[in-house]
Every structure is written in structure tokens, then in C-alpha cells.
């Protein structure tokens, strides 16, 4: 549940923020304006709902499972997210990204030992 919600949340957040365009002005007034326009973006709203589900299921997970199980589970989102980034978001996932992501996933499994 946590994995699915996080994947959906990340993909929609990426779609929504790209639709919004680059945020390059970090003055307080500009941030408020950007937040106001982002809050009206349906993709960002879907993403926020999915992230809320992901957050509460992660909260529940860490209360019942040891971190050694919770942490590698959170890395299980890497593969589906990369596939969606490639095919849905049209990102250029070259061999260095695939190789890097594979190393990270194997590394997370080791770190959780």
C-alpha cells in the first residue's frame, strides 16, 4: 500500500510540477504565489492525496515493523517509478541512470541487513 501510494504520488507530483513550470524565484511572496497556483493544479492535488495515504501507511508500518524492514520496502518504489518516468513522463533514462538505480536498490538491500 505504501509502495503503490508513493509511486502514484511521485509520478503525479512530477507531472504537476512540470506542468507548473520551473520555480526559480524563492522570495517569500513568489513562493506564496507559486503555492497558490500549484494548489489549484489537479495533478498536484492527486499527488498530495496519494502522499497522505503513503505517509499514514508508512507511519503505521514503522509502528509495527522494524526499520530494517520498512527501509528496504520504501526502496521498492525505485523500479516502478523509473519505468513510469521513462514511459509516462518521457524522461531520458540512459544506462547511467539504470545502472545507478540498480546499484542503489542492491545497496539498500545490503544496508537493511
Amino acid at each position: 500500500m505504501c509502495v503503490i501510494a508513493t509511486t502514484v504520488g511521485d509520478v503525479f507530483r512530477s507531472l504537476g510540477m512540470r506542468h507548473h513550470g520551473e520555480i526559480s524565484d524563492f522570495r517569500p511572496g513568489a513562493i506564496r504565489g507559486a503555492l497558490a497556483s500549484v494548489a489549484r493544479n489537479w495533478m498536484v492535488i492527486v499527488s498530495t492525496c496519494a502522499m497522505a495515504v503513503s505517509f499514514f501507511s508508512f507511519m503505521k508500518l514503522v509502528s509495527i515493523a522494524p526499520m530494517t524492514f520498512a527501509v528496504p520496502m520504501s526502496a521498492a518504489t525505485f523500479v516502478p517509478e523509473t519505468l513510469l518516468a521513462r514511459y509516462l513522463l518521457g524522461e531520458n533514462v540512459d544506462w547511467r541512470r539504470w545502472m545507478g538505480i540498480s546499484l542503489i536498490v542492491i545497496g539498500v538491500i545490503f544496508i537493511a541487513q
Binding site: F56, N92, R97, A112
Partner: protein, 142 residues
């Protein structure tokens, strides 16, 4: 665009991305640690919405939530210019930061398997970090 200008804009893009990725990683690691600490102090809770919302009023859980809001905003800013397939792996350096935080602040021992994991993740992050952060937005034309 002259070559030097292209290199300059590429550098500033990497610098800006690195700054926001750092904010994102630090707030995420600190937020998750506070959240976990708080949830462990609370002990097992039910799955009912009221139980989960009630947990938000525990001080450590609340601190964790505030830090995770900072993380959400930094992550959203990053994704406004950078690829998901770039941001996701690069911010995985957080796993390494967590392991080191455990070693230095909590005095946990880092086993050989963990060191191997740390080296693999660092290598993976370095590899992805060498790619251009915004392939989809700038176009994938050769």
C-alpha cells in the same frame, strides 16, 4: 549558444539542483527519524483514522511532520525543473546519511554488509548525478 555559456548554465543547474536536493535529503532524514522516534514512544497504535490523527499531537511526531512538510516543498521545487528519474535516485543518498547518523549520534555499529550497501548506494548516486537533471524538459534531442 556559445559552448562556455552552455557549460555555465549546466553548472548552475547542477548547483541549484544539488542545493535543493541537500535540503530535501536533510529534512527527509531528520523528519523520518523524529517520526520513527515518536511512533516508538507511542507504542503500537490502531489503524483507525482517529488513532493516526491522534498520534500527530505527540511532540516528536509533530516535529517529524513539520520537517516532512519542508521536505515536500523542497521536493516539489526540485521536480519543477528536474526529472523524477534523476531526483529519486540522487536523494537516495539519504539512506547513507541515515546510516552515518546512526553511527555517529546513536553509536550503532556499521556492519560489513552495511558498508557494502553504503558504497553501492554512493556509487549509484554518483553515476546518476553525472547525468543532466532535466532531460525531459530540455528535450532529448541529441
Amino acid at each position: 549558444m556559445p559552448a562556455t555559456e552552455a557549460i555555465g548554465s549546466n553548472r548552475s543547474l547542477h548547483a541549484k539542483t544539488a542545493l535543493w536536493a541537500t535540503i530535501s535529503v536533510v529534512s527527509n532524514v531528520a523528519g523520518n527519524s523524529a517520526l520513527t522516534h515518536g511512533m516508538h514512544e507511542l507504542g503500537p497504535i490502531g489503524s483507525a483514522p482517529a488513532d493516526l490523527i491522534g498520534a500527530l499531537f505527540h511532540p516528536w511526531v509533530a516535529i517529524g511532520v513539520v520537517l516532512l512538510i519542508v521536505w515536500t516543498l523542497a521536493h516539489m521545487a526540485l521536480l519543477s525543473w528536474a526529472d523524477l528519474s534523476y531526483v529519486m535516485p540522487v536523494t537516495a543518498i539519504g539512506y547513507v546519511v541515515t546510516a552515518f547518523a546512526g553511527k555517529f549520534f546513536l553509536g550503532e555499529t556499521v556492519s560489513l554488509a552495511r558498508w557494502v550497501g553504503i558504497i553501492l548506494i554512493t556509487a549509484g548516486v554518483t553515476l546518476v548525478g553525472r547525468t543532466r537533471p532535466d532531460s525531459a524538459i530540455s528535450g532529448t534531442a541529441p
